[in-house]
Point group: D2
Chain length 311, copies 4
């Protein structure tokens, strides 16, 4: 099988300070589809074009941030194999029983050196994307509810030890390094973009003293016109925008960063190129992040919030 191992980002559990306010944001403004609520009160949502039951799970809590970020793997044999590989590599893993998340099979959870909880799972109920399986239309009314991204695309996490994180993702989990920002002295990486596919990123990390922090959860749009529409909808709903609309030099993606009502940053973006594991990695100097256009290609500036505001 050409696509093996880790397939893609599957779900993220996000902490919000007020659940209903969070639901209004993610469902009515961002335009995800609510697919369930569980006994703990968590709310499950998915992007309209995702096929599995849920990709964003909201949990009410005292502080914002991310509980865990999970990848779907090819099948149960892959899950077992990756668990064994993680343990052999020296990573402790925990099995979360099937059903702990609605419509989701067993998950293998582990902490990575940046202090984040990562999960792998092989099974989540296929609920479809609302289109017919026979002779489908290309989209439906639901595609225009709120911003309506097609999928949870990736996340950017902040924490310490990203060299060790990179090693774990590339040596055990089958990811490869697509782009990186060097440290000011050029001796190491200040930020890394990792892919398990031909997406320009399935997960990314920035070196940061405090462990386990969320920079943003990112959702994919299909055109630059949709990025403008997202900007308009954010403004109509008083969603505070951090940066954008603009283009990242890094990944070439065209983007808006904004904040949910609890202060968790999210991104709606389109585009970027499609790398393969045999591609030469792209390198940004530390200055390149700002004046080189890495963060904001048109404006070539390092917006102060990029390095300082996380949840």
């Amino acid at each position: 099988m050409a696509m093996t191992g880790v397939l893609r980002p599957g779900h993220a559990q996000i902490r919000v300070l007020d659940l209903e306010e969070g639901v209004r944001h993610y469902r009515d403004v961002l335009g995800l589809v609510e697919t369930g609520r569980d006994a703990q009160g968590r709310v499950y949502l998915k992007c309209w074009d995702e096929r599995d039951h849920s990709s964003v799970i909201l949990r009410q809590a005292d502080r914002a941030g991310i509980d865990f970020f999970a990848f779907k793997v090819l099948d149960k044999a892959t899950l077992d194999k990756l668990e064994a590989d993680l343990q052999a590599y020296g990573v402790s893993t925990e099995r979360i029983p099937a059903g702990e998340l609605l419509e989701t099979g067993e998950r293998v959870r582990f902490e990575i050196p940046s202090g984040h909880q990562i999960e792998l799972y092989a099974e989540k109920k296929a609920v479809g994307n609302g289109l017919q399986v026979l002779n489908p239309a290309p989209w439906t009314k639901a595609s225009e509810n709120g911003i309506a991204p097609v999928r949870l695309d990736h996340c950017l996490l902040y924490g310490p030890n990203i060299a060790a994180v990179q090693k774990l993702f590339t040596e055990v989990l089958g990811f490869y390094l697509v782009e990186r920002v060097l440290t000011p002295d050029g001796a190491g990486n200040a930020a890394i973009w990792l892919s398990c596919s031909h997406k320009v990123h399935d997960i990314a990390f920035v070196e940061h003293a405090e462990p386990g922090k969320l920079h943003h959860l990112s959702f994919l749009l299909e055109s630059w016109d949709e990025v403008l529409r997202a900007a308009d909808i954010m403004s109509m709903n008083n969603v505070p925008i951090d940066i954008g609309p603009t283009r990242h030099g890094i990944t070439r993606g065209c983007t808006i960063y904004a904040w949910d009502p609890s202060g968790n940053r999210f991104e709606t973006f389109m585009g970027g190129y499609q790398p393969y594991p045999d591609y030469e990695m792209t390198t940004w100097s530390f200055d390149g992040l700002g004046s080189g256009g890495g963060l904001d290609y048109p404006q070539r500036k390092l917006h102060e919030t990029f390095l300082s505001v996380v949840t």
Copy 2:
């Protein structure tokens, strides 16, 4: 490694009736970059954002069509493994020595039941995409030379025995079936779209009596505006258009089909969704190809040329 085995379409060798006329089309109108000519007189081209030496090779011949379509695989060990797997499956393979194509390593060639020559290879010189490796711009002037697609995306081939072809691609080469059109009686597949990645197609086949035929070679654009620009450029250069601009219901791709000066059909398209191997396949009824909007979603008609004109 999450991306293993067969990575992507690598190159296609196309027969043209007049070499310089073909070069003018592929280089000056379609906007590929010419990267070399060999002792046999073959001309090598690549899309501007491709990293390897060449993806389209033009060979002058008495009749149009495709000589072979090749996939790049992860590495030499993968090449050996896939060759052994093919042989174990009962497929005869041939090793073409490194250098037979410029800047290209050894290729494993085999004929599939539809009568097409398919190749696998692991090595082709990385020549880059014309952007800096450090702090690159998102594109260059070369991105606006002619239609200027970003990559050779896939091909659609016509020939017999596509059930056997599907079995070979899915059981040996690691592809999965993304979409299909049923035969009129619904008992089999009249057309299949296969992926070795999360592209909606890396190769596709239509059941057809005559073996080894080319329906089209397809090139990826990045926006619907670029599809319009491609249509304008085709018209400016008297490139005859077969269908489009329009949207395929199948794959959701937004497309133009047109003919090169030798009568080989090519496609410039954008969009479509991104499937994964765990997705439920999409099925089109035979009528769905036409009136269901499979071929031309806006017009819901089966353009007569779709089933009858191949090279």
Copy 3:
């Protein structure tokens, strides 16, 4: 005043074979806003971004077609002046009393040599576009109901004597000729595009034996992405498409022609350039309409229905 005389197309009364079927098309698929029904049973609609009460009036009748096409003029003094000018030119005019159409002032109606009823009026109730007058948002939810064009833009009418029609529009009503298609012998005009503004057309005519025919009523979209969305929505609703999506060489507009349930053709389009009265007119040879790309720039063909199907 720099904008004087005739301002813009104001309303068109269209005959439909079944009123409710027509309403469903124009309101729910095309996405106009229903603004009233009168004692005769006529249904009034407007595009979301139009400010006046109505631009499309549907009347149930035994045969499809257009009853009249009307222009709004600057003010009542202009209406009186243009009426006097028409009479002085030898055109009979009729005053239709205020209120005969809902929320519409007195209209001056006259027949032009092509056999069409044209109206001028100065007053129609301003109902706004649904946005606040203070600190408005750029659009609202209503902008995404159906295809949702921003305005009734122009119409194309078929009838005899278009040389006389051109003379009337340019010498009395203040229009100028923007583009034309020559007759096969080059001695006269087979088609004319006329503007009273810097729109590329406010009204257009094709020479045709039968008087008073409608080729299409045209609605403006704001992007090529919206043209694709319109194509998708037409297909979802089984609206038969005549031509497109494509670009007209004439006017450069990017377009779809389709039919309402009664067989009246309508257009949804975007773009085209903005001419001024001092611009040199653009001329198309008769062959240029087809092979010159006048009608369909990408495909350079004269779709047979263009010259033969009218209501």
Copy 4:
């Protein structure tokens, strides 16, 4: 004639600190076409799709800014009539002889209460837009040289007494007020957008203590994709961006503000709606300019440079 009086912005003479640096910017980066140089050393440029000889004239000087902004009027009779009207209104006018600007007829120059020099003229040599007059293509290679706007669209000027300016433009020159920003006390206008057409602005003013200042000269693009392309090209050429890409709430235009090498701000934008003289004016509160989204609809903030940086 429905389009009478003042037709459109015709030319602007801009002061640059270094002529060749200015030419490189306006010709090679912005992508205007150089059409001539005169004995004084002034350089003449036009947008590719403009028909007349020149719209931007560069003059080398010690300080940046605008010398004059000119409108083309319908014909010489109109020029005489408007000159007489201005004088009757109490405005002194000066006749600049034909030929003082290359290929340009007599100009009527006058100073308005904001301290700006405004000109009217009726004649400028038609040089065409590089397309054939018979069966033209929709665009040419020149449309992709640099940012390549289609026209000089409008300017925004800063100076005192804009109430008097508004009175002059609306009572004498035939413009109408499309949008305005109120002063903080709501008693007057802090900014006004004026149209002589159905463009959302042909000229705009902001109340400002210092007379005769230029805020920006604005150039029209045809799509939001072209705005992104403009942003990329600016960054590739180290053009400093002030604001954007973003959408103005005012006019709904989608925009980038940036600076030429001499510090003159220019805008590249697309979109906005098309008003008519009978439309109700749109009003923005003074706070609406910032938090109401008037300047930057997505970000709802008043960028500090907007009110402070002019040349």
